[in-house]
Each structure stands twice: as structure tokens, then as C-alpha cells.
Symmetry: C2
Subunit: 141 residues, 2 copies
DNA sequence: ATCTAAGCGTTAGATGTCAAACGATTAGAC
DNA sequence: GTCTAATCGTTTGACATCTAACGCTTAGAT
């Protein structure tokens, strides 16, 4: 009889969902969310990217990004204007309020990461990252 | 200067999304989806559970389960009837077509798991599962 | 017996995501 | 120069998911 092997993917997605949910709750406590946080950090880390690159960096589709940018613009977190040099492109810039939210979320995100890593050694973390990379690689083939 | 630590949660959720997406695509190729597969396997492995337990096993909310069961019932995969002994309870049972879909999806799911595990040693798998469990534990505290 | 509380499932409304179609703009071919 | 193809972002329509509110049923208290 072959040994029973619980599917590796199930534990992966279940855990990821648990972690994502908790992260989202933590960000919500200071008025944010996971996609908003990822969008803010992507805007901050690369100045002057267009929306296509932004969506790529965040890991969502262009249509979904449009959705979030609409809400964030309505909420006064950022502005969009056409790039005079290429009027297909929207230049996205944070407002002061967007900057403030970024800093609040960063604190929450850093605290969350510390909490999440509790009890993991350097070796475990390295091994974990290696395996995750391998899994993604197995899918791409 | 402290060493830069990329957040462990980000790689986790990104990889999980990639894997989930590929799994869903594989199931879709034979007429299924991830939630449908999880519902089918849960029904098969435990006979006579109510919907609340079913939702718990699948890892979704009751309202979401209702949504899927509606679609699956419309599609002829299962039947729902009131339990005469407790008329609050819906007894969910697979039809023959539901059984057939279950077997098709099982083959696809097993093949996917094999593909996903490629290149992972027993030690790596064990370590991976241990770390995922630890992460979930860190969140629950 | 009745009344209250708890349990089960559904419905309604919101959010985040995607794919496909589209409108405007630019680049390249000729 | 014009025409065609590619690029950028938006809109539309769909789906999975959640929370909150609700309706029916059962269990428990008195």
C-alpha cells in the first residue's frame, strides 16, 4: 500500500489564507488593506512607473488596479494625471494623506512580520523560501 | 544597519496564489474548480455531515457553501433534502454525475500534486509542513 | 404549555479579483 | 503622410468570498 500523502498544496493554500486574513485585519485596524498596502509600497519604492508596471509589481491585473486606484483617489490618498510626454500614461502620485497612511501601514506590517517569524531559525527561513521558490518553479514548467 | 528581511508572508501568499491558480486551471480542464473539488471530497470522505460541518471542512463560510451547492445542485451534481429527523438540516448527497466528476477531478488533483512535489525530498517536505504549521500557530496566538 | 435561546441554512449587500471588449494614443511600416 | 499594429488604461460583466440580517426549527427553562 502506498503511504498516504496529504496534498502539499492544500496546506500551503490554507495557511496562506489564514495568514493573509490576519494581515488584512491588522492593516484594517489603521484604515488600510493588503492591496492598498502593496500599492502604496510599490509607488514609494519606484518613482514614475506606469500603471502596468505597478499592477505587475503588486501582482494583480490592470483592471483590478484601476479599481483600487479609483477608490484611493476618491479617498484622497493619491492623484492621477496624464503624462504630457505620453498621454496614454497615467502618472500616479501620493498625496500627504497617502504618505501618512503609508507610514502607519508600514509599522503594522513590520510588527506583523516579526510576529509571523517568531520561533523560526535562520535555517528554517532559508529552507522555507527555497521550497516556496521550487514549488513556483514546478508550476511554471 | 539591520539586515534587510523581505517579509516572509509576501512570498507565502504570492506562491500560494500561483499554485492555486494553476490547480484551478487544471481542474477546470475537466469541468471542475477548486471549491467544487473540495466540496466533493469532503462529501465523499464523511457521509451524512450537515452543511455547517461541510463548510468547516472546506474552509469557507456557510453562505459561500450555499452559493456553491446551489450551482452544483442546478448542475445535477448533488441533491439536497431536509433531514426528517431534524428539519433544520439539509442532507447533501452526490448524484451519479457528481460521482463521475469526483473521479475525474481526483485524477487531475493527484497528477497535480505529483507535479508540485517534483524535486522535493522527504526532509524538505517535512520541514515545509512543520514551518507552515508554525506560521499558522503564530497567527493564532 | 409557552417562551426564550440556540442552531441551521438562506438571502442581501459589499469587496476583491479576473477576462474580454473598448477608446485613446503612439510607434512602425510603407 | 497614412495605415496598421501595439500599448495604456478603463469599463463591463462575471465569480468567489465575506459579514450581517433573517426565517424556520429545535432544545431548554419555567
Amino acid at each position: 500500500m502506498p503511504p498516504f500523502r496529504p496534498p502539499i498544496g492544500l496546506l500551503l493554500t490554507t495557511t496562506a489564507r489564514t495568514v493573509s486574513r490576519a494581515f488584512d485585519d491588522a492593516l484594517a485596524s489603521v484604515g488600510g488593506s493588503a492591496p492598498v498596502w502593496q500599492i502604496l509600497i510599490s509607488i514609494k519604492s519606484r518613482q514614475l512607473g506606469n500603471q502596468r508596471e505597478l499592477a505587475e509589481a503588486v501582482g494583480i491585473q490592470g483592471a483590478t488596479l484601476t479599481h483600487h486606484l479609483n477608490a484611493m483617489e476618491s479617498g484622497g490618498l493619491l492623484t492621477r494625471r496624464r503624462d504630457p510626454a505620453n498621454r496614454r500614461v497615467h502618472v500616479v502620485e501620493l498625496t500627504e494623506e497617502g504618505e501618512r497612511l503609508f507610514h502607519r501601514l508600514r509599522e503594522v506590517a513590520m510588527a506583523f512580520d516579526t510576529r509571523l517569524r517568531a520561533g523560526l531559525s535562520e535555517e528554517q527561513t532559508a529552507s522555507f523560501e527555497e521550497i516556496l521558490t521550487q514549488l513556483a518553479q514546478n508550476i511554471r514548467d
